[in-house]
Structure formats: C-alpha cells, structure tokens
C-alpha cells in the first residue's frame, strides 16, 4: 500500500492517542480537514494492511504489577531454529518470540523470548517447566531480568 501525505498526517495526528470523545474520528478529521467517514476508511485500511497492528489500550505493564520481566535467550543450532522458535512462540506465557543475530564472541544467543510476570520466582519456575516439557536441556540459555527502566515510550512518526 502506498501511503499518501494525507495518510502520514493522519498517522502523526493519532500517534499520541485517540481523542476521548464521543466522535473521535470526526474530531481528528476536523483537525486534518477530512470528513469522519474518510478518517474511518483510512484508519481501517491502515489496520487491514498491518501498518496499524491494532487500535486500543497500550498498558504500562510495570504499573499494572508486571514487574518480573524476563528476556530469555537461547543458543539454538541453526537447523533447529524454526522448530524451537515455533514451540516457544506457542507457549501461553511467552509474549514475544524473535530470531535475532548472534554477536560472537560476546553474544551467542539467536532466539529471544519475553516472559512478563508478577514475580521472579514464578517466572523462573515457568521457564524450568518449559525446558522440561520441551526437552530443551541441551539448548544453552540465559534469563535476563530487567532492572531499572530508564525510558519507555513508543516510537515517534512524523
């Protein structure tokens, strides 16, 4: 999908949030000199194309009690990456699962999963259960809990 200047203005206009008003799309349209129906159609099209992943709430997970945030990284043999990536990605506790490049010799891990929990002990138990039930004992891994959060905001577009 080719984005027009108008699409970019729309993307910029709503990036910080939708108006909390009865007709939010009409309000945005009024700012951009677009009518409500055009705003609705373009936002729906952006979502259809996956440029907007979804509309709705973005939580501050720390403030909601998700303070045990573990990045679990694995050094998976390349030929098993698809299989293990699919398996771990399907775990209900895994919120993100990505392949990323190794940076040898400093960093041998090529599969990254995020597990967000309320309690470190429980998160570690979940990881142990995952290793046992998927027979991952041979796959070297590390658990990196987050300590201080220095900055959290979404990416900016203009």
């Amino acid at each position: 999908m080719v984005l027009s200047d108008r699409d970019y203005r729309l993307i910029e206009a709503i990036q910080d949030g939708l108006p909390l008003s009865s007709r939010p799309y009409a309000d945005i349209g009024a700012r951009l000199q677009m009518d409500e129906q055009a705003v609705i159609e373009r936002i729906a099209a952006l979502q259809e194309e996956g440029i907007i992943k979804r509309m709705g709430i973005v939580v501050r997970h720390h403030e909601l009690g998700y303070t045990a945030n573990a990045m679990v990284v694995w050094d998976v043999p390349d030929e098993r990456l698809e299989e293990i990536g699919e398996q771990l990605g399907a775990q209900p506790c895994v919120t993100l699962c990505y392949q990323r490049p190794r940076r040898l010799p400093e960093w041998p891990y090529n599969l990254f999963c995020m597990i967000h929990g309320r309690d470190r002990g429980r998160v570690l138990e979940i990881i142990d259960e995952m290793i046992a039930s998927h027979d991952l004992r041979e796959i070297p891994h590390k658990v990196l809990f987050s300590g201080r959060r220095f900055k959290q905001r979404g990416a900016r577009y203009q």
Binding site: G17, R54, I57, V59, K151
Partner: protein, 147 residues
Amino acid sequence: MDAIDRAIVNRLQEGFPIAAHPYREAAEALGISEEELIRRLNRMLERKQLSRFGPMYHAERLGGGLSLCAMSIPADDFERVAEQVNAFPEVAHNYQRDHRLNMWFVLATETPERIPRVLEEIERITGYQVYDMPKEQEFFVGLKFEV
C-alpha cells in the same frame, strides 16, 4: 482498579472499533455507558496505568527502522551513559538487565538507513561499543497483559 477497569484493560488490548461511535460500541460490549468508559479511560491514563490509547504501529511497514541494541557498561559509568543514550529521540525504551551486556534499548528510526548512523553516533558519544540485534524472524507477537 476495580473489576470494570480490569475488564476494560483486558478487552481493549485486543482492539477498538473503527466506527462513528466507537466508545459507545465498546462500552455496550462491556455492559457500561459510553460516558463511563471515557471517564475510566481518562482516569487510568491520568494514573499512568495506561501508556496510550490509540494505534500501535508496525514500524517496519511504516518504512521505519527498528533494532534491539545492547551495551556493556561498567557500573560506575552507567548513569552517564544511560543519560547520553536516553537523550537520543530514536531510543524508544531502555532497560538495565543483569548480564555483562547490561544496557538494552530499542532504536526506532524513520528509515532503516538511519539505524547504523545513530549507532555510530551513540558509540562516538559514549565511547562504548553497541551490539545491534535487529529482528530476523518473528515467531510470535501477542504482547497482552491480563489484569
């Protein structure tokens, strides 16, 4: 947060109507009024329980660059470097983690070509190497927090 707030958070992490009266539609599905939904969203935003209410963009499909980066910073230099790194508008979030690579941040740039330039700039200003680990394959993205 009471049961209604929790129901709102759980439900509206899954999407929001794109229609003329979206709050009314969402409120009906939750069994509350439009005014109450708006009031509660405002309150949760004010209390900073919500970061935003609106779109989540797909950075790459918007033509942007995105990467996860890590640095290894000695403890006594951590504050200075964190301040310098966070000052870059392209740094979206930054966490300390318990590993030799102890600073982890996400870089989001307007174009993919900007990523290596910002990395070089961060290395030049801080004096430390940056390890850049862009996503190569996505197995699952379902970031949702049940409350």
